[in-house]
């Protein structure tokens, strides 16, 4: 459990440092979000399709998680 917590903290630090430090020169101005504002550029576009996929893979494979929660809440695995 200790190792896990350590890992989680590391991930958060990496995320935070990406957010606050290293990336201050990466990216675009707020008014340059025209392309990224398109529906097909939304990372959670097609949520229903991904939910169906995740349910299938959750019940047919030993892995889950990554994109979202790994939990299942169904008796399919």
């Amino acid at each position: 459990m200790k190792r896990i917590i350590l890992l989680m903290i590391t991930a958060l630090i990496v995320a935070a440092s990406l957010a606050l430090g290293g990336c201050s020169h990466v990216g675009v101005k707020v008014w340059e979000h025209d392309i990224l504002a398109k529906p097909e550029m939304q990372l959670d576009a097609g949520a229903n399709d991904r939910a169906l996929d995740d349910h299938i893979y959750f019940s047919k494979e030993a892995s889950s998680g990554g994109r979202g929660f790994a939990g299942g809440g169904c008796g399919c695995n």
């Binding site: 707020v30 008014w31 979000h33 025209d34 504002a37």
Partner: protein, 305 residues
């Protein structure tokens, strides 16, 4: 983190609308959005800013990295253009014909012969005649997708660009949100009211050269708009004096001279900003006949002589 500078615009709540303000197109820009949701206002404001900057960068004559520069430095070679530029050029061609040559996007070079700072000037007739050699849409070859112009000629979307941007931004925001909204770029305004909404936008015409939302008290005229647009042509501050006569800054592309006896400003209210802008400019070009022209068109207007 929440400082306004990082957004590029300022967002404020005014009555029941969110108002985004930013500077672009050489002046103040305002976008009024009838929503109580700040995140939606934020999203739309950044889209508005993005679209405004895009149009500004693409059609500005002051840049050396856009299609206008490419055309103006083509040195007699044909230049193939993208769809949006083609639509603007096609529009320019059509209004040139409709105005019998008075509205001409190649007339910008004539400004080099004039200084409009309210001072007495002595026009250099020879220079004007020289410049006139480089003006005239009829000297342009435009086939709908590529444009060929004699060396020395220049095009300038100055008389169309801002109105185009106002309509474009308003249309885009409505398409994105379905909200009632008002876009105001330095007095060129487009309003949209969502279907089923009882809202109307009250616009005060204050100073002859500035049309603003009804916040000031110096309004000389009011307009209540649902789906409509306002554009103003002329500028009380930009004129010169020749032989004791006041001449405004709008030049007749056929003579190279300002229109004598023209109103200082003409404000037209109609359905789109592009249309209002063109009719207002045509009214100024009609000189003393400005009001007759406007009455013939059957549009609401406000003229300052």
């Amino acid at each position: 983190m929440d400082s306004e500078s990082q957004f590029g615009y300022v967002l404020n709540r005014r009555d029941d609308v969110w108002v985004a303000e930013y500077s672009a197109m050489a002046g103040p820009c305002e976008v009024h959005m009838a929503t109580d949701r700040q995140s939606e206002a934020d999203r739309l404001a950044s889209l508005a800013l993005s679209e405004t900057r895009r149009i500004e960068q693409k059609f500005s004559r002051y840049r050396d990295d856009n299609i206008v520069h490419q055309i103006n430095s083509s040195n007699g070679e044909p230049v193939a253009v993208d769809d949006e530029t083609a639509r603007l050029l096609e529009y320019a061609k059509q209004v040139h014909a409709l105005s019998e040559g008075q509205f001409d996007i190649t007339s910008g070079v004539l400004r080099r012969a004039w200084v409009f700072r309210g001072e007495v000037v002595v026009p250099d007739r020879e220079f004007i005649d020289e410049l006139l050699e480089r003006v005239g849409w009829e000297r342009v070859t435009w086939d709908g997708s590529s444009l060929t112009m004699a060396p020395g000629m220049e095009i300038d979307f100055g008389g169309i660009g801002k109105e185009y941007a106002v309509d474009k931004v308003a249309g885009m925001l409505f398409e994105q949100s379905g909200l009632s909204l008002m876009v105001n770029f330095g007095g060129d305004i487009r309003t949209i009211v969502a279907e089923g909404s009882a809202r109307s936008w009250l616009v005060g015409i204050e100073d002859p050269s500035v049309v603003k939302g009804l916040s000031g008290s110096s309004a000389v005229g009011h307009a209540e708009l649902t789906n409509g647009a306002i554009a103003t042509s002329g500028d009380t501050n930009r004129f010169c004096i020749v032989d004791g006569k006041r001449l405004g800054h709008i030049l007749n592309p056929k003579t190279g001279w300002p229109v004598a006896g023209a109103p200082r400003t003409v404000t037209v209210i109609t359905s789109t900003c592009v249309e209002a802008g063109f009719l207002a400019t045509m009214a100024v070009l009609s000189g003393a006949g400005a009001e007759a022209f406007l009455q013939a068109q059957g549009v609401k207007y406000h003229v300052i002589w």
